[in-house]
């Protein structure tokens, strides 16, 4: 299935990417930064909530690969590699990437994220 493209434009630029190119979106209040898998990023002057709506409207069902993580992050759940609640980290990675991406989040948010993913895999728990 061909994935749809996300198109964002401001007065000067238009950027067109697929959802697979998008690793995560971070936010510092009223503006957001899109981080792509190749390490480049693009800043836009709308907040995370607006980004959510944009993803929903442009991607439709495909938007469900993205997960809102707390106040500041939307992550592409396809790239979730590791969640460590005690060190308050979630790491995004893929085999094709040069480097892994480490993101910080609150313990509560990470607990919810972990549960969300476990539930979707019907609670496969292995004692590490």
């Amino acid at each position: 299935m061909r994935s749809k493209h996300i198109i964002l434009s401001n007065s000067n630029n238009l950027i067109r990417i697929t959802s697979e190119d998008l690793a995560y979106i971070s936010s510092d209040g009223s503006y957001s930064t899109m981080h792509l898998v190749d390490g480049t990023d693009h800043m836009f002057s709308f907040n995370l909530r607006a980004f959510e709506k944009l993803l929903e409207s442009q991607l439709g069902l495909d938007s469900q690969r993205f997960i809102r993580l707390g106040k500041c992050l939307i992550i592409n759940s396809d790239y979730i590699y590791l969640i460590n609640i005690s060190s308050q980290e979630v790491i995004l990675a893929a085999m094709s990437w040069k480097e892994k991406i480490k993101l910080r989040a609150s313990k509560e948010a990470l607990k919810s994220l972990k549960k969300l993913i476990e539930d979707s895999f019907k609670n496969r728990r292995i004692n590490i």
Partner: protein, 173 residues
């Protein structure tokens, strides 16, 4: 730190979390409707129950009480015995008809104790298809010893009619 719990929401994009709330609301609606329906059914039953309280429960027919003038007497078997002795006599003297020992049967006969105490007018009220059973009963009653007839209050004898059911069982119960 204060608003952290509010902002720590984690959810999948494209699936608004308000789904959960609206689901809860839907559940409450359903429970409310079902509760109302049950309440309605219960009140209906109470109303119907109240109507029925004016009716009377139908009981059984109690055993018939036979009033006979004190001086009247029942017939007596063999001069002075009661009906149970007669029944025992019938049981002792009645035999299974030949060739029918593997069958059950029920025969009902009516008989009259005449004014002179003889058993007369033995009639079959009901019998199975195999008439041999009925014939046995009639035969045995022909040999029945004499009775003392029933007497009215003034001492005059009178006929009595009895109904006797007989059951033939192929095996002892």
């Amino acid at each position: 730190m204060k608003t952290q719990s509010e902002d720590d929401k984690v959810y999948i994009i494209g699936q608004p979390e308000t789904n959960r709330q609206s689901r809860y609301i839907a559940y409450f609606w359903w429970i409310g409707i079902i509760a109302c329906v049950i309440a309605l059914i219960i009140t209906l039953m109470i109303f119907l129950g109240n109507d029925k309280s004016n009716q009377i429960a139908k009981g059984e027919d109690l055993t018939e009480v036979n009033i006979v003038p004190k001086a009247a007497t029942a017939p007596l078997f063999m001069g002075k015995e009661g009906v149970p002795t007669f029944l025992k006599w019938v049981g002792a003297n009645l035999e299974y008809p030949d060739g029918y020992e593997t069958e059950d049967a029920r025969v009902v006969v009516s008989l009259i104790i005449s004014k002179t105490g003889n058993v007369e007018n033995v009639k079959i009220v009901c019998q199975p298809e195999e008439k041999a059973f009925g014939k046995q009963v009639i035969m045995v009653l022909k040999k029945c010893p004499k009775w003392t007839p029933a007497k009215l209050a003034d001492g005059s004898p009178i006929k009595t009619i009895y109904t006797l059911p007989v059951r033939f069982s192929k095996a002892k119960r």
